[in-house]
Subunit: 273 residues, 2 copies
């Protein structure tokens, strides 16, 4: 089984397109974690157990661990998901991009060291920076296309001939890079019209869609424009909106509630649920 | 003192534009390191001591440490340089790029956790992914512009209006992003004509130039086209060519010899030495 099939199965099993981002920020943890050595893992574990039957994937963002020297707790988190919720694939959000020989080392980081099922990748260096990841046919490789941050348009919307750079990236992803059928794209919910343009280019390729929640993306517009012909094809990520729904002792219940609401809101706008 | 001044001082002190890349690959280490727990740090230390009076900077590439879970040895390496060769700045080559709130975490990774003097950055997300690094005015922020790998042209040479994407990046770096005068660019030696075009756009902005050595770049063409009006403005990186000049017990002497040759060859083509 490969990553895309695993996500499809999780979509169906949990009737959910939601991806929960695991971006731990100990300053925002409830008091009960204060002073704990494994606070990050313990917090993540509670979030995972509270939401695993409501999601199609989990996505730890590596900078939140690397800034704190918490690589071990990142690995514990991923292994915990594999062991206790084996139907839910894990995306390591690291947005790596480097020359081929170095990209091989980053693939080792993601797939061997951290046991991730998929990884996010930056396309600026071209295919020889992507192929060391995509050669792992059972793994997912999710390439940045149109990101959710404010200044992304200054680069990604540059006109390349008659198309924008992000459209060119989408086109290369479909027509040139997807030889192992394991490429997908990152497209922010903050640009719903562009989600629609990208869907028209890529057919049924999968999209990872951040930007709902803390970043302010519109769910209806994002789902209406982004879904594929089967009412799926999306992993819609929320990180801060779920993790810090409450900072009190009820944080896990609050995270579950927000995730459930998000799942249900998304499902309202799917062609087929 | 900021990063750019520190590099300038090292240029003068060692009369050298050479940057040695610290990309450890234990499989290629001499036998004397076999089985050692701190083999990476011990190897790096020998290379550093053998070359520190011949270089303007050191550049550890983080993937080589992350793939092996060797973050502690990366920190040891950087601290060793600061303590024993305080005149030589350290660039953490990590090519990070993410939305603003995450970029802050990556800046913590580079500057707080690993104590680097500068970091490499991917521009695909635009300025709000760069500013969390460049707000640290004493640190250097080295933005990918025209990279040395074969498929880089498929993206970076796309025509944006009348210019190529990499030229647009260079122009934005100079005119829009350099508010703290601490931005510089990565331009591969494998494209010497493009080095010249970029130099014409950026004036005396500094360039980090990989691609000499294992990647086959032409030294004369790169220096002739890339240097600034003062015969400087470049950090010319070699990693594998220096580190693995010999895989026998004489590896440190061989690394020194290759570095010295490279320095002298580069100096031949500088307008002013």
């Amino acid at each position: 089984m490969n990553f895309n099939q695993n996500v499809s199965n999780a979509w169906r099993k949990n009737n959910s397109l939601v991806c929960v981002g695991l971006d731990p920020d100990p300053k925002r943890f409830p008091d009960q974690f204060a002073g704990k050595n494994d606070a990050i893992f313990a917090f993540n574990r509670a979030i995972i157990d509270a939401t695993a039957d409501l999601v199609c994937s989990f996505k730890p963002q590596i900078a939140h661990y690397a800034a704190l020297g918490a690589e071990h707790q990142l690995l514990q988190t991923i292994q915990y998901i594999h062991q206790n919720h084996p139907d839910i694939p894990v995306i390591l959000d690291s947005k790596r991009g480097d020359i081929g020989s170095t990209a091989e080392k980053y693939a080792d980081e993601a797939f061997q060291r951290f046991e991730a099922d998929a990884v996010t990748i930056n396309p600026y260096l071209g295919f020889d920076s992507i192929e060391p990841f995509s050669r792992h046919q059972d793994k997912g490789v999710i390439v940045l296309c149109r990101t959710s941050n404010p200044s992304s348009a200054s680069i990604q919307n540059l006109m390349v001939g008659e198309h924008k750079l992000y459209e060119k990236i989408a086109e290369m992803a479909v027509n040139e890079w997807n030889e192992n059928s394991n490429i997908s794209l990152v497209v922010g919910a903050t640009n719903p019209k562009e989600l629609g343009k990208i869907r028209a280019i890529i057919g049924d390729m999968m999209l990872l869609v951040p930007g709902i929640g803390a970043q302010g993306g519109d769910t209806q517009a994002a789902i209406s424009n982004g879904q594929d012909e089967q009412g799926a094809g999306l992993m819609v990520n929320s990180s801060r909106g779920v993790l810090y729904a409450s900072q009190g002792p009820d944080f896990a219940d609050a995270a579950r509630q927000v995730t459930e609401q998000m799942r249900d809101e998304i499902n309202q706008y799917r062609k087929i649920v």
